[in-house]
Amino acid sequence: MKRIHVKANGRDFEHEVEPRTLLVHYLRETLNLTGTMVGCNTSNCGACTILLDGESVKSCTMFAVQADGREITTVQGLAENGNWHPMQTAFHEQHGLQCGYCTPGMIMASISLLEENPDPSEEEIRDGLEGNYCRCTGYENIIKAVQQAAGQTS
């Protein structure tokens, strides 16, 4: 077992973890942050996407021990004082989801995308989200949601 310390959604945590514990399982099972989903388990689908020190990563392809000392944001850490993050609002208003399973990862990847490129073209949004699969929407409303969050539409 290894002792790790992480800051997740603004709170400090310290736990003993087995080295093989994947970050996504640590988040879901130890921290109860079940908003972060397990999808393909092979770093393809993006359902488990979180922010690590502000950048999108796939938490199924990282060991919890690698996150020692780092800062994590999951979809459950986005709202402030009960107000959604603008990306959450945009996904809601543009109906960028149907079943909702990919949505937490999709939102985290979209936030990382705009952090890197605040005014992306449609093609840049599609490329930027290539690591996140949605099997319901056909992506159209997801693109619109990211455009809304970028202030490109209202």
């Binding site: 290894k2 087995e18 080295p19 093989r20 994947l22 388990n41 092979t42 770093s43 393809n44 993006g46 996407t49 690590l52 950048e55 999108s56 990563v57 796939k58 392809t61 990282m62 060991f63 021990v65 690698q66 990847a109 990382s112 995308l113 890197e116 930027g128 290539e130 690591g131 996140n132």
Partner: protein, 283 residues
């Protein structure tokens, strides 16, 4: 699936990593970004008994201008290689490929040294670094040595790295204004492995070709240089490209698998070599 249990060590420095490798023997593996190794461990295709995490070693993440070449720290992440102004200016093919492989979240973790150490012939970087004739700097118990990319990739997932060696740096040439480049990747779906990939680095001279270096992805157990094409293009005019590219599959041994037959891969190598060289000439 969960990986087989293992012990976890944090390397404080390259020397410490070498020491730990010596201590734990051949079943220890180095962990960099983990985006090749962790999937393999999850599939239980790899079961190291000890992981030595290089992720805390600070001074292996850099890009430096060294005159005729760029020196890139082995732990430089793909996303940082993609965005680095020096790489963009002097080695566009490397920046382009770092931004193409996987997806942005994968690029935020995966490292240049890691993908080369993994040595997958269907990975994009090994063939690009081969076409660039890059150099891989490694450190071991007896000190530092440099390995040419061509000598580095020895067989399927097998490199010239000795059990106690660590990749510390990758050196790639700075490409001048007369050097065109392209990396063309054929895959069915976004972020798939290349069914075939072609890296072309072409020295141009008033519309004709001085020399060309062609690296092939997924055409054998290692990245392969298309020597017959390179010879045919040496000193050739741009009109010679289509015919030269027909030799792209000479000396290759592509696999037949669920993604494509060997014959289809040979066909793709010829077509995409032509397109890659044409694109390199136009750039």
């Amino acid at each position: 699936m969960y990986p087989v249990p293992f012990d976890y060590e944090v390397a404080e420095s390259v020397d410490h990593a070498i020491e730990l490798l010596g201590e734990h023997g051949e079943d220890a593996k180095l962990l960099a970004g983990g985006h090749s190794l962790i999937p393999l461990m999850r599939l239980r295709l790899a079961a190291p008994t000890v992981l030595i995490d290089l992720g805390r070693v600070e001074d292996m993440n850099y890009v430096r201008d060294e005159g005729d070449h760029l020196a890139i720290g082995a732990l430089t992440r793909h996303r940082d290689v993609h965005h680095d102004p020096l790489v963009q200016e002097h080695c566009g093919i490397l920046s382009y490929t770092a931004g193409l492989l996987g997806d942005p979240s994968v690029q935020h973790r995966g490292t240049l040294g890691g993908t080369l150490a993994h040595g997958d012939a269907s990975g994009d970087m090994p063939s690009v670094v081969s076409a660039l004739e890059g150099t891989i700097v490694v450190q071991g118990p007896d000190g530092e040595r440099t390995i040419e990319a061509l000598d580095f990739f020895q067989d399927y997932l097998m490199t010239a790295l000795e059990p106690q060696e660590v990749i510390t740096e990758i050196r790639v040439p700075k490409l001048g204004p007369n050097t065109g480049w392209a990396y063309k990747k054929f895959s069915r779906r976004s972020q798939d492995w290349a069914i075939v990939g072609v890296a072309a680095v072409v020295e141009k001279n008033n519309g004709s070709i001085d020399s060309a270096r062609i690296g092939l992805t997924s055409m054998g157990s290692t990245p392969i240089r298309a020597r017959a094409v390179e010879e045919a293009l040496s000193g050739a005019s741009a009109d010679a490209v289509a015919e030269a590219a027909n030799a792209a599959d000479e000396g290759t041994e592509p696999a037949s698998d669920g993604a494509a037959s060997a014959d289809f891969r040979r066909h793709l190598a010829r077509v995409w070599t032509r397109r890659a060289v044409e694109e390199a000439l136009a750039r």
